[in-house]
């Protein structure tokens, strides 16, 4: 708060009294992150706080001269207190990965291994660090789990580190205090409570991912047996844990082995969208590896087939060969019916299935029974425990356990049913049992279910301590707020999906001197001053030291830090499939009932990344929605409710209401509305004021989905930022339409125009050249141009994108933002279509919008050999390189935008205003020094990561050798969890990209315009079940 007051004062030239300052503050609206309840209420406490803030300077505001001097001093101290760029390395030794210069060479990045301790399992990382500033996060290529892949959230945590709105101080009742003041107060309290065994001391943590933290608590609990440690996140694994407890008697995690699965069934499991699903990186990679049309030893194509049953349209459902849209409530019934059909349990009574569903079920059962031991059923994280139990039973009945699914210890060291924990905590708070509540990295005031009235219970607690990255909704209310260290700033540890241990090592000293949960919990122990580094090292040091190596006793630990993970620590599968008894599912919802489904936002997750501009701005998969959340429903439901898109509706559920703009998406289950939680934050210059908070109507009894909602139209409209248009094809057949009125115009056109080409596996077997037959699918001969063809003697860079592998997860886009310093333009600019993304994922919906099939097509600059943009630029600002790159000379660009008009792929992006942030100091640290930050009035676009090409070229030149295939990795390629993108030299016939381009399925989009694109696509082949859809494809 103090900084904002300063800001406000600096902006005010006239004399100000404190009262005026306060009035000004109270008048501020919108995205000012420091708004507190106190301030809004204008309580005397707040006034007092302001006065205390500047006690010795209060009178100086009357005197202009000394005020000026004060401002000068304050400005200087702000500059000093801010980020000057001379942050030093952490004290503890950390070891550079692979490329290790002798000492710091400026301009030469070093790479460190660490891990992102996400709550669904750690994401092993390799972080690029330039002058000790982490500037790019990517998956650790040596790690067996993700093999270099990442996801949008992991990529976005880089901006989270440099977020200028991060909390920078420790606060007590609104005043800054040193960390030691808190520590003193905390330890005094602990000493007091020692006798009572910690009675009245409660911890409420985000899901604990660190084995060290769990160990610390275990030891702490021995000292304070009556203290309680609870966990709560609004998005949690309660269903999975509850089901495993019921089936196995203890908490277990399921690990799916998609590399051996021929048939995959998703029961609302969105395992291809992002890290919100545990094991995303592994599952997506294994899934995609079985779709490359490799031949097995018998000469058959080893291709899997995916069935999906889901409510909200997800990328998983859209990648599925066959998909059934069901309301979330009914999926448990479907799962039980499916279980009964494969011989596990009995079918639930009272369920009636539509013809489509029955057909789907029959075909699915037949397919599953024919593939016992080679199929797998994956239950959704956001589905009820009975779906998980049904999946356990089905996998057991089909003999999949030990083959396509194994059960292991849990990745998270302290598994628990978090929904019950928050309820018991609130009960204790209301009962006055809670004396000290220490909240660790979670934000319950924002995210607790509405009916718990957490904020009211909050006031009944003696002292609340909040440790958090931001002074968020909870942090502003808490008595103590401690600024947390980011995972890139602190020591910790975590396990990946497969159980492999990673050490989280700091890449940079805490920018704002933040602290971690380890430091707080260590206070409970007998040796309270042990640092997190020592704590982590004591957890794994012995195990690491056992690694074979030199005589150096440190070798094992150094190797652990160097590799980023401790080899051979993956979980061993436990034996036995568990005896799952499927409980009777909830009765089927009445046809006219309206159900609300709560899901994490695909990008900002449960709200913790809501202040990351990249994640807010990049259009979400499927919905294409940027900057907001919406009441997402099917077109039929939209009609039934009598609203149109963008209309603001009031959703009431159990007496709680929330306002939300309506949005229809293809394929959503009818009679169901999906709300993404994670938006509607009140703090943060990015997050504040974006969307609505779905937790406001979330019931604690049924936090995943709840029936019985009512809708009221408000008559207002909200301009949702959907950068891509979507229209329904109303064209009659004689003007080129299909006359149906239920299909997507873009989808129909994309297939008509040969932009999307695909075939079923059977069609492909009969006609491998399907991608080159039909209208507009013939590439012109190479000499069909007025201009002489360029010669590429040495290198010719090209890219191949496998549409079969792309799952539309957006990891490539966020990676591109980080690598290329792409600006965030904000909600309004996004609404009018000025998003700056250099790579986008075009999504085309084919067929009836009630049951569509989607095609994802990553679209970057195609680096055309006959580039239409180059011919029309009047100043020669976009030119061709001898290696075939189409490059932008930013300095030369005057901004006529003619190139964009003439680009058939519309991949050029223009700085219509000054979009780049030149002022915020922390963002300067984050930028990639090898890429220009573009100013206003300049065109920009994908450069094939020119800076990476040149870096490798220089290295190769120095060593006097040719560039090796695979040595240059573009940012999008590096992030892709499914290896859908391949880049390389097409002049080199042995390169991977050249081989891919020779494939029969390879085609160029709009190549019939004779643009001769360097980016080509490998056409999709889908492995449909002939019993279900006999007539799809090419």
């Amino acid at each position: 708060m103090r900084d904002s007051v300063k800001e406000n004062m600096q902006n005010t030239h006239a004399k100000l009294t404190l009262a005026e300052v306060r009035a000004k503050l109270a008048g501020q609206k919108g995205k000012k992150y420091w708004r507190s309840i106190d301030e809004l209420a204008g309580t005397p406490e707040f006034e007092a706080a302001v006065r205390e803030e500047f006690p010795e300077h209060s009178s100086e505001w009357i005197d202009p001269v000394s005020r000026r001097g004060f401002l000068k001093l304050m400005g200087a101290s702000m500059a000093l207190a801010g980020l000057s760029g001379c942050t030093k390395q952490p004290d503890e030794p950390i070891y550079p990965y692979v490329k290790a210069p002798e000492d710091l060479v400026l301009g030469k990045p070093v790479y460190f291994a660490t891990a992102f301790p996400f709550r669904t399992g750690a994401v092993p990382l390799l972080v690029k660090s330039d002058a000790y500033r982490p500037i790019k996060i990517d998956g650790n290529p040596d790690h067996p789990y993700n093999q270099g892949g990442s996801d949008p959230i992991t990529q976005g945590t880089l901006l989270d580190l440099y977020d200028p709105d991060r909390s920078q101080h420790t606060y007590y009742r609104g005043e800054t205090r040193p960390w030691v003041a808190f520590l003193g107060s905390f330890r005094a309290m602990l000493a007091d409570k020692k006798a009572s065994g910690g009675q009245g001391l409660y911890f409420l943590s985000t899901t604990v991912t660190s084995p060290t933290l769990a160990a610390q608590w275990k030891k702490g609990q021995a000292n304070y047996p009556n203290a309680k440690f609870l966990q709560y996140d609004p998005v949690n694994r309660d269903s999975a844990y509850a089901a495993s407890k019921a089936a196995f008697g203890e908490y277990r995690d399921a690990q799916y082995k998609l590399d051996t699965a021929d048939i995959i069934v998703s029961l609302d499991a969105d395992f291809l969208s992002g890290a919100a699903h545990p094991g995303f990186h592994r599952l997506a990679k294994d899934y995609a590896n079985r779709r490359r049309l490799d031949k097995t030893s018998t000469g058959e194509y080893s291709m899997n087939r995916l069935y999906a049953v889901e409510t909200m349209t997800t990328t998983t459902g859209m990648k599925a060969e066959h998909r059934l849209a069901l309301r979330a409530n009914d999926i448990a019934g479907f799962a039980a019916t499916l279980a009964a059909a494969v011989g596990a349990g009995s079918a639930p009574s009272g369920y009636t299935w539509s013809d489509d569903a029955q057909k789907f079920l029959a075909a699915l059962v037949k397919d599953l029974k024919a593939n016992t031991g080679k199929c797998v059923v994956i239950p959704g994280e956001q589905q009820s425990a009975s779906v998980h139990l049904a999946a356990i039973a089905i996998n057991d009945a089909l003999g999949n356990v030990g083959k396509t699914v194994v059960y292991t210890e849990t990745v998270n060291p302290m598994p628990t049913v978090e929904g019950d924990e928050i309820k018991s905590l609130v009960a204790d708070m209301n009962a006055g049992k809670v004396d000290w509540l220490v909240i660790l990295n979670t934000n319950p005031i924002y995210s607790a279910p509405a009916d718990l009235e957490f904020a009211d219970a909050f006031n009944k607690v003696g002292t609340v301590v909040h440790l958090g990255n931001h002074r968020d909704e909870t942090g502003l209310q808490a008595h103590w707020h401690i600024n947390a260290a980011h995972y890139l700033e602190s020591w910790s540890d975590a396990r990946a999906y497969d159980g492999t241990v990673s050490v989280v090592q700091p890449m940079i000293d805490p920018l704002y001197g933040g602290h971690s949960a380890h430091e707080i919990l260590q206070s409970l122990l007998d040796n309270p001053d042990v640092s997190p580094y020592e704590a982590v090292r004591s957890t794994w040091g012995t195990q690491a030291a056992s690694a074979p190596g030199g005589e150096d006793p440190d070798f094992g630990w150094r190797k652990l830090l160097h590799d980023g993970f401790l080899a051979n620590t993956a979980f061993t599968p436990s034996s036995g499939g568990g005896k799952a008894v499927i409980p009777a599912p909830l009765p089927q919802l009445a046809a006219d009932a309206l159900e609300i489904v709560f899901r994490p936002d695909p990008h900002v997750y449960d709200g913790r990344y809501a202040n990351v501009g990249w994640l807010q701005e990049i259009p979400r998969p499927i919905t294409n929605l940027s900057w907001d959340n919406a009441a997402i429903m099917s077109y039929a439901t939209l009609d039934k409710l009598g609203v149109s898109e963008h209309d603001v509706i009031e959703i009431s559920l159990n007496g709680k209401t929330v306002l939300a703009p309506a949005l229809a998406i293809p394929g959503h289950a009818d009679g169901s509305i999906t709300l993404h939680i994670g938006q509607g934050r009140t703090i943060g210059r990015v997050a504040g004021g974006v969307g609505f908070n779905a937790c406001q109507i979330r019931p604690s009894g049924s936090p995943l989905f709840a029936a019985g909602a009512t809708i009221r139209k408000t008559g207002q409209e909200w301009g949702l930022a959907i950068p891509k248009s979507h229209y329904i094809d109303h064209r009659a057949t004689y003007v080129g339409g299909d006359g149906s009125g239920t299909h997507s115009l873009e989808g129909n056109e994309a297939i008509d125009r040969g932009i999307i080409r695909y075939a079923t596996l059977d069609q492909f077997k009969q006609d491998p050249g399907f991608a080159h037959e039909g209208y507009g699918k013939d590439d012109p001969a190479p000499d069909e141009s007025l201009f002489p063809a360029y010669r590429y003697d040495k290198n010719a860079w090209g890219m191949s994108i496998d549409l079969n592998s792309c799952v539309g997860c957006n990891a490539c886009i966020v990676s591109c933002y980080a690598e290329n310093n792409i600006a965030v333009v904000g909600q309004h600019q996004a609404t009018v279509g000025r998003i700056m993304q250099w790579i986008r994922i075009d999504t085309y919906f084919e067929g009836d919008l009630a049951a569509p099939r989607a095609h994802f097509q990553p679209m970057t600059c195609h680096h055309c050999e006959n580039a239409p943009c180059e011919q029309v630029c009047p100043v020669g600002a976009t030119v061709h390189t001898p290696e075939g790159l189409n490059t932008m000379v930013y300095n030369r660009c005057v901004g006529t935008r003619y190139c964009s008009n003439n680009c058939p792929y519309k991949v050029r992006r223009f700085n219509f205003l000054l979009f780049s942030d030149y002022d915020t100091p922390s963002l300067k640290l984050m930028r990639n020094p090898d890429v220009t930050v573009r100013s206003r009035g300049v065109m920009e676009k994908c450069s094939y990561c020119l800076q990476r090409i040149n870096e490798v070229k220089i290295e190769a030149d120095k060593n006097n050798r040719a560039i090796r295939d695979g040595e240059i990795i573009t940012a999008c390629q590096q992030a892709c969890p499914t290896n859908a993108i391949v880049f390389g030299n097409i002049n080199d016939a042995t390169s991977k990209v050249a081989k891919l381009k020779k494939q029969e399925r390879t085609y160029g989009v709009l190549a019939d315009l004779n643009t001769r694109p360097r980016t080509t696509y490998v056409a999709e082949v889908i492995n449909v079940n002939p019993a279900l859809t006999p007539d799809v494809g090419a």
Binding site: A750, R753, F912, R936
Partner: protein
């Protein structure tokens, strides 16, 4: 074009040809000179002039506000976006350039074709050309992302040794428009020299004598002067004539050379030229009718002029209509191209399809009323029709630029366009600038060429036509 049933005694009708007179009868050299020069030399400026000038000046101020904000913030204050990266600025540019064409056509081509009636309107039609080019020339400059670097489009020698990219039609535009502006200004000025001499001689104030004296560059009206004057007019007309065809052809290349469906078509050059003349004549009418009323110049700008200009509009309007129908034919029936097919459907029935029908109504349907002679001589109706045609021609460019861009090859990148207040302010601001300049022009320069009108009088004609008669037996 009078017919037998016209009243024989109408003084406005030529008794021999039956056509409307170009100048009302009864005028002498003196009366023509006085009527025109008094507008300029009168010490008492009409109040109405101040009123109109103040309004136009206010609108210019609005333009300055819009431009200042534009330079401060960037072109993002407009509605341009991806995919519609060109919007009002380029529409206005093409529209204003088109308007200019009538002036050149009147002064050059009609001169070469010896269309005497042009003389009454050629001066202000030329002025209109110049002011339209001023308005048009503004847009390519301000629409760039970094207008302070727009001079990079000129091929000037520089230490970096960097030249413009000569394959770009935008560069051709630079040459076409700057040539056009130069020729137009020179032609206009040279044509005005005899009249400036008259004004110098008639000016009472010292300042007027000095001002017009400087501008008249020593014109004495000697035979030698007249010979050179006539020769240079003819030469300049010869130079300007190809420009009528070339300038808008080059501008149409901006679109025709591009790859975009709806732009990539060979019909654009002739159809743009016809459209330019169409809108230009409409603008001449829009200007002539109020001036004629305000300064009581019905004697000099007669119904003959109005009628003739309507005919030109009708003819060029039909060429334009032919262009539209060819576009439809090419895309629907002949091209066999999915892109073209969709482009035309989208142009007519897409989300901005209404603009196409505005264009068809204003440019094709309504102007057919001009077939009626009665309506052609109905001055308020003709004025209204000129406004309709100007609107229609603006929408033609809107349809070509915005609708084509909004939905092109990749359906994923379709977008739309919604003009902002800054777009409208800039458009309106150039109307203000145009009117502002025009007010200055009619106040300080002779808006109708006195020297040429004097030659039109019967008194002049007798001698002029008597001389070349061959003698018998020669």
């Amino acid at each position: 074009m009078a017919t037998k049933d016209t009243p024989v005694n109408d003084p406005m009708l030529d008794p021999i040809t039956g056509e409307f007179a170009v100048i009302a009868p009864g005028h002498t050299f003196k009366s023509v000179t006085e009527e025109i020069s008094n507008i300029v030399l009168t010490p008492r400026t009409p109040l109405g002039w101040f009123f109109g000038f103040a309004i136009a000046g206010g609108v210019v101020l609005m333009l300055l506000v819009a431009l200042t904000w534009l330079f401060l913030r960037g072109v993002g204050i407009w509605a341009v976006t991806i995919p519609v990266a060109w919007g009002f600025a380029i529409i206005n540019f093409v529209w204003w350039i088109g308007i200019g064409h009538a002036g050149t056509l009147i002064s050059a081509i009609l001169l070469l074709f010896k269309q005497g009636w042009r003389n009454s309107i050629n001066r202000f039609a030329e002025a209109m050309t110049i002011f339209a080019v001023v308005c048009a020339g503004l847009f390519p400059l301000i629409h760039t992302g970094r207008p302070w670097l727009a001079y990079w489009l000129f091929p000037y020698p520089n230490t970096m040794n960097v030249w413009p990219q000569f394959r770009s039609p935008l560069l051709w535009d630079v040459f076409a428009v700057s040539t056009y502006a130069t020729i137009s200004v020179v032609f206009w000025y040279i044509g005005m020299i005899p009249d400036l001499g008259t004004l110098r001689d008639r000016a009472k104030s010292r300042f007027g004598q000095f001002f017009y004296g400087m501008l008249a560059v020593g014109w004495r009206g000697s035979v030698r002067h007249w010979v050179r004057y006539e020769m240079s007019s003819l030469l300049l007309a010869g130079l300007a004539t190809p420009l009528v065809l070339s300038v808008h052809s080059v501008i149409s290349f901006d679109f025709a050379v591009a790859l975009l469906p709806g732009w990539h078509t060979t019909i654009f050059p002739p159809y743009f030229v016809a459209g330019a003349i169409y809108s230009g004549f409409a603008m001449v009418i829009t200007l002539a009718i109020p001036i004629r009323e305000f300064y009581h110049l019905e004697d000099l700008i007669t119904l003959r002029h109005v009628d003739n200009m309507c005919k030109v509009m009708l003819a060029t309007g039909l060429i334009v209509a032919y262009g539209y129908s060819t576009e439809v034919f090419m895309s629907y029936c002949y091209s066999a191209s999915k892109w073209e097919y969709f482009m035309m459907w989208n142009r007519m029935f897409g989300p901005i399809g209404w603009a196409y029908w505005v264009l068809i109504t204003c440019n094709i349907a309504l102007p057919q009323l001009l077939w009626s002679r009665k309506l052609r001589r109905n001055v308020p109706f003709v004025f209204l029709m000129s406004l309709i045609v100007n609107t229609g021609m603006w929408f033609e460019r809107f349809v070509i630029i915005v609708i084509s861009l909004s939905r092109d090859y990749l359906p994923s990148s379709w977008g739309t366009y919604r003009a902002t207040k800054w777009d409208y302010m800039t458009l309106a601001g150039t109307f203000g600038l145009f009117t502002f300049l025009f007010f200055l022009f009619i106040r300080f320069l002779p808006m109708i060429p006195m020297s040429e009108l004097r030659l039109m009088l019967p008194q002049a004609k007798i001698r002029a036509e008597a001389e070349p008669l061959p003698e018998a037996g020669d």
